[in-house]
Symmetry: C2
Subunit: 325 residues, 2 copies
């Protein structure tokens, strides 16, 4: 396979000149440029990008850590990331970690090994302290609210958003409020739990352990929540559900069992997914696509400029009133 040296030899120029042509540098005469391009054409020359990466110390690639690509939440964030990456001519490496810390660490090691230029952490099992250690090797942006860290983050104001939702429910007259959460110990999940408990205490609202359900990641788990309502001595009046697909499961299963929405059980969803629109689920839109897009733009900027000053970008949210509350 031809290399740059061969091109130079045949075109009768130096490798420097060939490199300049390849990279559109100035100071190459039109005649030589033409000869070089022609030689490249003739020999079907293809640049060995590994040599370029070695030489430049850059790869034009960013890795993305997330647990499950087929959960709507993550695929939408990924969509935002991928769209911006395409615009910036960057490549994205997907690490679907299943929250396995060692796999997530491997990705950070790739940063250290110069295999990638940066890392976007959409959701992780790693502690912020661990991530911080890798900041010296390249920029990292997380999509979680980690407070003031050495790495950047783009995040929804989960505390405020959740409170806002609770206030909205309270204003509507609801007092018995239930809560379906994804992971019990996730960073955003913890924030929401705190918000939930604080709000209940503040307003002296009733609470029962069975109104709070964890590990609700799928439609099926939403359906299970609906079924759990049936034998319940005292039911909540409304559920806040993190994820419209989970809310959809809850609603459809509840209706199957003759419960009316919102009269018997009201539901406020999260994420504003297409299924929520279809079922007219009231929801909190937290702009997931924008989160991905913003995360990429920040990391791209930091790679480009070499600036490591962390950026904390707070995204807003909005309640979309539909029919389930």
């Amino acid at each position: 396979m031809a290399n740059i040296k061969e091109i130079a030899r045949i075109a009768g120029v130096s490798v420097t000149t060939v490199s300049r042509v390849l990279n559109n540098h100035p100071y190459v005469s039109e005649s030589k440029r033409a000869t070089v391009l022609q030689t490249i054409e003739q020999l079907h020359y293809a640049r060995n990008m590994n040599a370029v990466h070695l030489s430049t110390g850059r790869t034009g690639t960013v890795a993305v850590i997330l647990p499950y690509i087929n959960l709507f939440y993550f695929s939408v964030v990924m969509d935002g990331l991928a769209h911006e990456a395409l615009l910036a001519q960057y490549r994205l490496i997907l690490c679907q970690s299943n929250y396995a810390p060692d796999e997530e660490l491997k990705v950070l090691e790739m940063l250290r090994n110069k295999e990638i230029d940066g890392v976007v952490v959409v959701s992780t099992a790693l502690l912020p302290e661990v991530i911080e250690e890798y900041m010296e090797y390249g920029p990292v942006v997380t999509c979680q609210d980690n407070g003031e860290r050495r790495f950047s983050s783009v995040y929804i104001e989960h505390y405020a958003a959740f409170r806002h939702g609770l206030e909205y429910l309270k204003d509507k007259g609801y007092r018995k409020i239930g809560y379906c959460e994804g992971r019990q110990n996730g960073s955003s999940a913890s924030i929401r739990q705190t918000a939930f408990q604080a709000f209940l205490a503040e307003h002296q609202l009733p609470f029962r352990q069975e109104w709070m359900v964890f590990d609700c990641m799928t439609e099926e788990s939403g359906a299970a929540v609906a079924r759990s309502l049936l034998p319940m001595e005292e039911r909540p009046e409304v559920f806040m559900v993190t994820g419209d697909h989970v809310a959809a499961g809850l609603i459809i299963e509840a209706r199957k069992h003759g419960l009316r929405i919102p009269e018997d059980i009201a539901v406020l969803g999260f994420d504003n997914q297409p299924i929520g629109r279809l079922l007219e689920i009231s929801t909190i839109d937290n702009h997931l696509y924008d989160m991905g897009a913003a995360a990429f733009r920040i990391i791209h900027e930091q790679i480009r400029t070499g600036n490591r000053q962390p950026v904390y970008r707070k995204l807003d949210y909005e309640i979309i009133e539909r029919g389930t509350v």
Copy 2:
């Protein structure tokens, strides 16, 4: 930053020995191995993977071409790919192409540029002939049925699956059959159209242009189909819908307008998505996760062995009977 040469100098051995330690080669005495490892530790040495890639001509990375990551269909295939890639310690580059041919070509060029070891094409706007031209640079696996090509493919027997579905409907007594398709000109879509038209002709079933709808990719487009039924002079008795989320849109919107499922309009979905299970949509499960997993295993095998003999792996499908037909 320390490199292998520095490690060698300080540890008092040759770079060869350091390399051997790094790669777990035999023929290194325990004492030297220990010294080297200790030096690596001390200097916080990190291997420059770009040099490794240049030197070995391999990158341990496979690129994936697909149009939209946030469509369930693709995110599930990606899940299968990602899972296997993790097991094989391979990295996946995601190219979300939006079916832009030039972006898809760029990925094939990456193969030529040795930036990646192989390409998995989940769905593409490119012609098979174009893909074939890149086979000399590395293995390519597509997830479409392209017939006998120089590249491998993992595919659902769309023709058979679709016919099977049609037969199932006919056996149930349906004669007026409608059809909602994603892309009009997709490779799988074309096969299904052919199957559809052949079946109708064969059994002299009635057909109307308005019973065939294209560009149904989302829940909303399914809902639009439901609305289009209302003013229709003569309605189909059943719709085959490629994608359970589209079927879900159709069903939910139809019910909103008082249509009973399946009495007024029956629906047979595709892809066996979680939402289909929840709504008890009868569907054709075409094992998308397995498709991704199989695609990765094939390309990994071909990278490993250097074997370029194309493999055509046909996946089976099954009708899942639930309540909408």
